[in-house]
């Protein structure tokens, strides 16, 4: 349990530190290129210098990006014992924070000589991304991101058949009834995303996934949990390649923020 708390604290610290350091860079000139301030400073004339009120306004507008994972279909074509499909959507909140929802489904087909069963499961992940890149301008949506997710999957494990090889007393075979397993995990993610065509992004994520309460199904762990990975591991790493399409609105703010040349 402490491991998860440490991961959570570490992630929050990283996010807070990055926000603090980038706040000092905003509004300055970096490497000779003029930057567009993304803050509007309003000074109350009735106030003294010491209690000047600074109000920030985010000029980036709204963005909803919907994407699909490209690794899953490639893996499905090359591997016979598991399959999965994965989608993601993120919505820009403010201060370079994105609300993220991911989901999909998949399963596994275990067909060994001594163990046979199949599983299927949908999965959902919710969390946030924080981009570490400073915007060149409000239209700049490229990201180098870190994020945190909470994942959930309901695994339907169908009846299993088994064979126990015993050279002394003879082999024993049998079956086990199907079960329904709930899995909850925490993810720390990092990656990048680049808008290579207008409104179309390509990017990758690396994920560290940590199963919470994995002992509850350790005696019946499925080979593969779609959205998580190997079901009998308490910590796994994963990789996604996403291609996304972005929908944007509230363009008035973006137009007014065009740099003067």
């Amino acid at each position: 349990m402490y491991r998860y708390i440490y991961i959570l604290i570490f992630s929050v610290l990283v996010v807070c530190c990055s926000q603090h350091s980038f706040a000092q860079v905003n509004g300055t000139t970096v490497t000779g290129y003029p930057t567009v301030p993304d803050t509007l400073v309003v000074i109350n004339s009735n106030a003294t210098d010491s209690n000047a009120h600074i109000k920030k306004k985010d000029l980036a507008g709204h963005q909803l990006a919907i994407g699909v994972d490209l690794v899953s279909p490639i893996t499905n074509a090359l591997v016979s014992d598991k399959f999965g499909y994965e989608f993601e959507a993120d919505y820009y909140l403010r201060n370079e924070f994105y609300l993220v929802a991911e989901g999909g489904w998949g399963g596994s087909n275990v067909n060994y000589t001594d163990l046979k069963y199949t599983t299927t499961n949908p999965f959902f992940r919710f969390g946030f991304n924080k981009t570490m890149l400073v915007r060149d301008n409000p239209k700049d949506w490229d990201m180098m991101l870190i994020g945190l997710r909470l994942g959930y999957a309901n695994i339907n494990k169908n009846p299993a058949t088994y064979l126990i090889t015993d050279s002394t007393w003879g082999n024993v075979s049998g079956s086990r009834p199907g079960t329904s397993i709930n899995a909850v995990w925490l993810e720390v993610t990092g990656g990048m995303r680049v808008e290579f065509i207008k409104n179309v992004f390509a990017g990758w994520n690396i994920r560290g996934k940590f199963m919470m309460d994995g002992k509850s199904f350790a005696n019946d762990a499925p080979l593969f949990i779609a959205g998580y990975g190997k079901g009998d591991k308490n910590a796994v790493f994963d990789f996604n390649l996403y291609i996304s399409y972005a929908i944007r609105w509230d363009r008035k703010n973006m137009a007014s923020a065009k740099p003067k040349r």
């Binding site: 126990i164 050279s167 086990r176």
Partner: protein, 165 residues
């Protein structure tokens, strides 16, 4: 841009290769082992000590295949298994391969099917209830650990050889 794309693809291939590994090898024992320890009680003092005097201890299971036997030279520790298909099984024991004197150990137990892992599959573990013996050269038996699983370092039953043997 080309260099960045190459790096991304290299990382993708590495991760994909690591994820497409075939079934992992099973690194744990798949058969539960019942470990016996032969002991000796001296007549005069009653001191117990581990008996290493079995010249060639032999164990033969009561199964359809009569040719199977376990023999260990100059050993006091023997590893046998229990029948997963029954609640009782019997082993014949002799102190030497040339001996015609056999005692019989009868084990009564409960079977628990256990999922080891996807690499190893299922195994049968056991809970020993009682152990019965004949008394040609065995004085008595004692269960010291009733849980029989794939832990090969736990001794389960002590077999006391008769003081006069």
């Amino acid at each position: 841009m080309t260099k960045r794309a190459a790096i991304i693809w290299a990382i993708s291939c590495l991760v994909w290769a690591s994820c497409t590994q075939q079934r992992q090898p099973c690194l744990t024992p798949k058969i539960a082992s019942l470990i016996l320890e032969t002991m000796h009680i001296t007549n005069d003092t009653g001191t117990i000590f581990v008996d290493t005097a079995l010249p060639s201890g032999t164990f033969i299971p009561f199964t359809d295949s009569s040719s199977f036997r376990i023999t260990s030279l100059l050993s006091s520790t023997f590893t046998i298994s229990l029948s997963p298909d029954a609640a009782t099984c019997r082993w014949a024991i002799a102190t030497d391969t040339t001996s015609t004197v056999f005692d019989t150990l009868t084990f009564h137990y409960k079977t628990n099917l256990q999922f080891l892992s996807n690499a190893c599959g299922y195994a049968d573990f056991y809970n020993l209830d009682t152990v019965q013996t004949t008394h040609k050269f065995i004085d008595s038996v004692r269960i010291i650990n009733s849980t029989v699983n794939n832990n090969v370092n736990t001794k389960h039953v002590q077999v006391y050889i008769h003081p006069d043997f």
